[in-house]
Every structure is written in structure tokens, then in C-alpha cells.
């Protein structure tokens, strides 16, 4: 069994990896504060996977009306982020990547005052911005890190926007999607909330059409929290009206989440078409 790996990339960013968790971290600020923040991140990361594994069987179950009380701080973040969606099918695993990013970010923020931090967990990103600071963030055209697809656009996050997390969900990502979106990128108060919301909006971008290929999740991967639910495995050519219909369903869902205060904005991409929800000024290429 291998423990967590810690590496310093050539440009100074940190790369942490343990089992399925991959983080790229960068902090900006006074040198000593940056060093303290990286050290704090490393300390906190040591136990994160083991804590999750101890409660994994509970975290893989669908949320119901009864609140889960779990020991792991990351597990608690996952449940809090997924709780608003319990009226539909969701397991806390929908927010695992964002929750890990938030947890590491919190450990770094506690270590000292920094200008900016990002903790990127495979595209689900926790952000910290001191007053007056900003991040310019690329919006992915696909959550598949192996695709060399150009970025769909950029979005600027300013301190005071109330945005502490960005997440992307869709076909080709690490997690299965019940929907057909190429990518749904969500901005929210923290990464776990963005992660859960991106999953739910991604599931809503959907339409019944012969071009959509689906298979039970459990036939593709063992130990999946989705069980026998049909997940999207491929997408053929969709006619324009079908694209518009599927995007419209996702847009309606995203607008509802925006109105409920759960997200700050979302970008939905499907076959070269996009919808933007929320007050995001987004110069999209598409």
C-alpha cells in the first residue's frame, strides 16, 4: 500500500496524490506564509483518504431526509453540499472532489494570511482571494483531462464575489453523468457546493434520443455509488432541436439553483452550444 505522494512541480506548484485524489495547489503571498500554507496542506492531506475510506460505505448511499452524522471533516462537507438535493437521487460522493479541495484550502488559510490560493482537485477547484485580488479561470470545454480541447472561455473571479469554488461535470469526466452535457461548470461559495451542483445540472442536461447511449453504472465500474442507474456512455449526432431541448432543461435547473442561492453561476456546454446562467460576464469562444 502506498501512502500519499508529495511533489514540487518545476514551477513551484505542489502536486499531492493519494489513491484516486490528485491535487495541484498554488499559494501566492509572503514567502514564509506560502511555505507555512504548503506545510499545513501537506499535514492535512496525510489522513484525508483514510478518513474517507473509513466512512465510504455510508457516503456511497443515497441521501434521504435523515441527516447523516459522520466523523470525517471532509465527509461532513460532502453531506452539507449535497443536502439541498436530497429530494432527488444524490449520494455525498457527488461532492467528494470539491470537499477535499475545500478541506485542504481551509487548512492552508488557517496557516496564515495569503493573497491567493487555489486547490485544484482534478478540475474541482477551491479558491481563496484576499481583498482586491482576482483569479482568471479557464472554462473547460470538456471535463476529460486527456482531451486537448481548447478552453471554452474564461471567467474572472474577484474578491468579494462570494465565489470560493468552481467545479466541472459532464461526459468524459472522472465521474459518471446521468446527463449528456459536454461540460457544466459551476461557480459557488465553495468547491463542494459547486461540485454537487455541477453534478445535478449535468444530470439535467438530458434528452431521450437514439443518439444517446447508456449503460448501468455497475456494468462499467465496480463499487460505484450509482448502482444500476443508467449512465451516459456515448453520444452520437444530435439534431439542433434536441441540443436546444437538453440544454434548456439544464438551464432551467441551473436557474432554479441560482434562484435558491445555491450557486453563483453556471456555464453549460453541449455540442458547441452553450448557455450561461447567473451574472457571469463570460467571453465565450463558442
Amino acid at each position: 500500500m502506498t501512502g500519499p505522494h508529495f511533489a514540487i512541480l518545476a514551477d513551484g506548484r505542489r502536486h499531492f496524490q493519494h489513491g484516486p485524489i490528485d491535487l495541484v495547489i498554488e499559494a501566492f503571498g509572503p514567502v514564509t506564509a506560502v511555505a507555512a500554507a504548503y506545510a499545513a496542506a501537506e499535514r492535512r492531506f496525510q489522513a484525508v483518504l483514510n478518513e474517507l475510506v473509513a466512512e465510504l460505505w455510508l457516503l456511497r448511499r443515497p441521501l434521504a431526509d435523515e441527516r447523516l452524522w459522520l466523523d470525517g471533516p471532509v465527509a461532513r462537507r460532502m453531506i452539507a453540499a449535497c443536502w439541498p438535493y436530497r429530494d432527488r437521487f444524490i449520494t455525498p460522493m457527488a461532492a467528494v472532489a470539491g470537499a477535499v479541495a475545500d478541506e485542504i484550502l481551509a487548512a492552508m488559510r488557517a496557516a496564515g494570511a495569503l493573497d491567493r490560493i487555489y486547490v485544484n482537485n482534478g478540475g474541482d477547484i477551491a479558491l481563496h482571494l484576499a481583498p482586491g485580488q482576482r483569479f482568471d479561470i479557464g472554462v473547460a470545454a470538456s471535463p476529460d483531462p486527456r482531451s486537448n480541447a481548447a478552453l471554452a472561455g474564461r471567467v474572472s473571479v474577484l474578491a468579494g464575489d462570494g465565489i470560493g469554488g468552481i467545479a466541472t461535470s459532464g461526459r468524459g469526466g472522472r465521474s459518471f453523468s446521468l446527463g449528456i452535457a459536454d461540460a457544466v461548470t459551476v461557480l459557488a461559495g465553495d468547491a463542494a457546493s459547486a461540485d454537487a451542483a455541477a453534478t445535478m445540472i449535468g444530470n439535467a442536461v438530458d434528452i431521450d434520443h437514439p443518439a444517446v447511449r447508456r449503460a448501468p453504472a455497475s456494468s462499467i465500474k465496480d463499487d460505484t455509488d450509482l448502482g444500476g442507474r443508467l449512465v451516459t456512455t456515448g453520444l452520437g449526432t444530435l439534431p439542433e432541436p434536441a441540443i436546444a431541448e437538453a440544454l434548456g432543461r439544464g438551464e432551467a435547473r441551473a436557474q432554479a439553483l441560482l434562484d435558491a442561492g445555491l450557486i453563483a453561476g453556471a456555464v453549460l456546454l453541449l455540442r458547441g452550444r452553450h448557455r450561461v446562467v447567473g451574472r457571469i460576464a463570460l467571453p465565450l469562444a463558442a
Binding site: 484516486p20 452524522w69 466523523d71 479561470i137
Partner: protein, 512 residues
């Protein structure tokens, strides 16, 4: 949910704690490992997208194993050469690579002349110099990690050997108690006897011998590096599997159907199954059995008893004493109650009688099995001894005419520091303060001087041109063969295979 049926082709990946079960042709949760024809196989290298402030392009992190012929483990240095450490004549070591350690090399203090051995050798075609010496450490200490949840004593309490204060209890860490022993104040700041006893205590622990210590207001401890600790005469065999709540979470499913209630006694968090989320998920009915202490969240209780050397690190010896009440409206005669500690070492089985009083009875086999499994899942409890010493003083003059350059060279990772050939952790900040696990050093590597102070081997290895650049004693550099011919005074110790070979360049000192 959908548990895949066990199959001979199913591979359980043990690369990380998730322990994915992977069917043929599939990959695990990380997509790094997969089942290829029934064998666990490393898949293609991971590529990550980093959407940083500059919208950085895709960055490949890992070089494919097929290219390097090895797993990437964060350490660019791959091969650990299992060979002899101390040099000796060629017949003793054959053609195996040789590294001269500081053990027994001798020294002078203050270092007014070059170190006893400055040895040149070649490693991977590069000319290397190893400056070998023994450091006299007045500023040194030992950090002890004791894997136990038993109460060893209050934080800051004095730790004594033969009545003399030699250190103190410091912060408890997960599943372990920590002691800080030695240090300059006990060595030279107290009475003469205190200094001598402190020196002898550290010497024995560093040389992997057993020492008995007492804690003011706490326990008597017998400690030895790499051995289970003995707390108040009791051999500690296991670390706890988790807190009481975590234990409930882990084993709830296995208890289901065999019990009506389980209370996992733990000094940190005591767990109560039917009230706990895990029990409720399994549809278990409340038992009406309430425990003492302060409720944190459902089924999780703080402070059910005082810390001690009883059940689960509490002072409990009769587990029924932590039961506050049994509600007659909910409880019923015949209810089955398991009480167990977080290591599974203490366990008892009760059945409620007609007056709802718990009566201890023989434990059913199904329950004994799960109690044993708690024990199985606990890691062996060990005592770890880490030596910490500061080599930032005059010792450096034995290496170079310009001592601060050695410090900088170590910080810049041009110079690799080892203790008896073992890898060390160099503390950040000023000076050359190193920390080393004594178990990774050869036996009896430490000595002492009457100052009192500990004598520890220390070696500095660097490229010959770097040594020249930092003002090294070039006239004193001797070839390895010459040192090896000193002859009978030399002892050959086998290198520990898990230690990186000391001659591999500094900066690559990370241990796997």
C-alpha cells in the same frame, strides 16, 4: 449495494486504502490501476488539467513506467543498493559498493582540524566526497512516539529515569502519546546527576536498548525502539482501530442481526450503535441504553469516564459503570448488549434480565469473531525513537574552512546528510538540525562523552567539485581504498535495504 460476486479474476487493488475490487478489463477509482488478465497493472500515466491563473495547459505529471522501468514514487532515485555500509577490506565486501559511516570514526571538539575521514569515491560515474565524523551533540534530544491510547500522564509532566527528570510529556498525536526527552536544559542545565542520567537514558534509547521511565502523576513506561511499549506493566499490543464512533461505522454491518446494542468504549469518542448514524441506516431500533458523558452528535459521546489504563484508554475496568440509565419504556428483557474497546482487547457480552439489569454471559461465536476482527485491524503498537541533534556549530569546521557554506550547501540540497548511513530529516530554518529514526541506523551507533553529551555519527556527501567550491579540506581527501585498508578496526554492517544508498546525490533524499 451491488456487490460484485467474488470471482477468481477479481483483483483487489492494494495501492491505496480504498481497496478497489476490479473486474477484468476495468480500472479502479483512480484509473491508475486496472485488472489486466487477472493481474493488477499500472495503467497509463495520469495527465491533469490545471486551470490556474494563467489557465495553464495540460501538464503530464508522471513519466510512464515503461520508460523509467519503475513506479514513480515521488523519489527520482530508484535503486536501493543492498550492500555493506562501513567499508572494510575487499574480501569482506567483495565488489559491492561501499560507504564509510561516521560510526567509530572519532572526532575532536571543537573541530580545529579536518574531520577524521574525508573519502573520495565514485557513484554513477560522478566523483563524490564523503566527510565522515562523529558529532558531539550537547544540543540534542529524543522524540518518543508511543503507540497507545492509555494514559501516560498529563501534558508537560516530568518524565523521570531513576528519579531524575530527563524530559516531559508533550502533545498526544493520533493514537499515540509523545515524549520529548533530553535537550540542553536537562543535559547541562540541571544538576550534574540529572545531566548524567539524561545522557545515559538517551544513549540507551538511541542504541535501541530498553529503558524504564516514570511520569509524574502518570504511568511507568518501558520503552525500546521498534518494540511494543509497556504501560504500567501491561504490554501494549495494538493501536486502536479508530475512535469509538469510527469503530461503530466500520463494524456495524457485521454486528447487525446479532446484537441489540453495541457500546464501543473510547477515551476520545464513545460510540453507541443504535443511536449512531450507522445503526440507524441499518434500521436498528433504539435500545434505551444511555451512556454517561457529553453527547456530541447522535451516538457519539465525549468524556464517558476519566482517562486511564482501562478500556479504550479510559479508567474503566467495569464497563457497566459508564451506563447512565436503561429506559424501561424502550428496553426489554432479553436484549443483547456488546461492550467492547477500540482495540478489541476488552469486550463483554450482556443480556438484560427481567428487571432490565445487564447480566454478563458467554459471548456468541459470531460476536467473538467481530471482536477479534477489531483487533486484527489494529496496527501493532510500537515505540519509535527519533534522535534530534544540531550540527550547526564547530563540527562544520571539520568539513570546510568556511563553515556557513556547509549549512547553505545542505539547505540547497547539494550536500546529503546521513547518520550512520541512515537518511535524516533536515529541519527548516537555521543551522543543520537533523532528525533520524534510530531503527534505520546500525546497532550501537551512538556513544557519549562526560560533558555530558551524546556522540552520534554524521556524514556529509557531495560532489567533489561542490566540496572544492565550499572550501573543503581538499588536501585531506583520501581514496576509499586507502580508508578501507585501515583494516581490523573496521566493522562491516549490512545496509538496510529500505534506506536510500547514501551516495546518491542530495536532493533525492526523500524516502519511499
Amino acid at each position: 449495494m451491488n456487490e460484485p460476486a467474488p470471482s477468481i479474476d477479481l483483483v483487489v487493488c492494494d495501492a491505496c486504502p480504498v481497496l478497489c475490487r476490479i473486474r477484468p478489463g476495468k480500472t479502479g477509482a483512480c484509473d491508475r490501476y486496472g485488472n489486466v488478465e487477472g493481474r493488477l497493472t499500472r495503467m497509463d500515466p495520469m495527465v491533469l488539467m490545471a486551470a490556474g491563473p494563467d489557465a495553464a495547459p495540460l501538464v503530464p505529471f508522471l513519466v510512464a513506467p515503461e520508460v523509467t522501468g519503475q513506479e514513480w514514487n515521488g523519489n527520482p532515485v530508484a535503486h536501493h543498493v543492498p550492500v555493506t555500509l562501513a567499508s572494510a577490506d575487499r574480501t569482506a565486501v567483495g565488489d559491492a559498493p561501499v560507504f564509510v559511516t561516521g560510526i567509530g570514526s572519532g572526532t575532536t571538539y571543537p573541530d580545529y582540524k579536518p574531520a577524521p575521514f574525508i573519502v573520495s569515491s565514485r557513484h554513477d560515474g560522478v566523483d563524490m566526497v564523503t566527510v565522515v565524523t562523529e558529532g558531539i551533540f550537547s544540543y540534542c534530544g529524543i522524540k518518543v512516539k508511543i503507540d497507545t491510547d492509555r494514559y501516560v500522564g498529563p501534558e508537560q509532566a516530568a518524565v523521570r529515569c531513576n528519579g531524575e527528570a530527563v524530559g516531559h510529556v508533550t502533545t498526544a498525536e493520533y493514537g499515540s502519546q509523545m515524549l520529548a526527552l533530553g535537550g540542553v536544559h536537562h543535559l547541562t542545565g540541571g544538576s550534574k546527576k540529572e545531566g548524567q542520567v539524561t545522557c545515559q537514558t538517551m544513549l540507551a534509547l538511541a542504541n535501541k536498548q530498553a529503558v524504564e521511565l516514570t511520569v509524574d502523576g502518570g504511568a511507568t513506561l518501558t520503552l525500546q525502539a521498534g518494540k511494543p511499549p509497556v504501560v504500567d506493566g501491561k504490554l501494549e499490543e495494538r493501536m486502536r482501530v479508530g475512535c469509538g464512533s469510527a469503530t461503530i461505522g466500520m463494524f456495524a454491518k457485521q454486528w447487525q442481526g446479532h446484537v441489540d446494542e453495541v457500546i464501543v468504549v473510547d477515551d476520545h469518542i464513545t460510540g453507541v450503535l443504535t443511536e449512531h448514524q450507522a445503526g440507524r441506516f441499518l434500521g436498528m431500533e433504539p435500545s434505551g441504553i444511555r451512556v454517561r458523558g457529553r453527547r456530541s452528535t447522535p451516538g457519539r459521546y465525549f468524556q464517558v469516564a476519566e482517562p486511564g489504563t482501562g478500556w479504550g484508554g479510559t479508567d474503566v475496568t467495569d464497563p457497566l459503570t459508564i451506563i447512565d440509565s436503561i429506559d424501561p419504556k424502550t428496553a426489554r428483557p432479553g436484549m443483547r448488549l456488546l461492550m467492547v474497546s477500540t482495540t478489541g482487547e476488552d469486550a463483554a457480552w450482556f443480556v438484560l434480565d427481567g428487571d432490565l439489569k445487564p447480566v454478563e454471559t458467554a459471548m456468541p461465536e459470531a460476536i467473538t469473531h467481530v471482536v477479534e476482527r477489531i483487533g486484527e485491524n489494529c496496527e501493532p503498537a510500537l515505540t519509535s525513537i527519533l534522535f534530534v541533534g544540531g550540527a550547526g556549530g564547530s563540527l562544520r569546521a571539520g568539513v570546510t574552512e568556511n563553515p556557513v557554506r556547509l549549512t547553505r550547501s545542505v539547505k540547497d540540497r547539494l550536500t546529503r546528510v546521513t547518520c550512520g548511513g541512515a537518511p535524516v530529516y533536515v529541519w527548516p530554518g537555521g543551522g543543520i538540525t537533523v532528525m533520524v529514526d534510530v531503527l534505520r541506523m546500525p546497532d550501537n551507533a551512538f556513544g557519549h562523552v562526560p560533558t555530558p553529551a551524546l556522540v552520534a555519527p554524521i556524514e556529509f556527501t557531495l560532489r567533489v567539485e561542490d566540496y572544492r567550491a565550499l572550501g573543503g579540506h581538499m588536501d585531506w581527501v583520501r581514496p576509499l581504498a586507502e580508508v578501507a585498508e585501515v583494516g581490523s578496526r573496521l566493522r562491516v554492517a549490512a545496509a538496510q535495504p529500505e534506506n536510500p544508498w547514501p551516495l546518491t546525490p542530495a536532493g533525492h533524499a526523500a524516502t519511499p
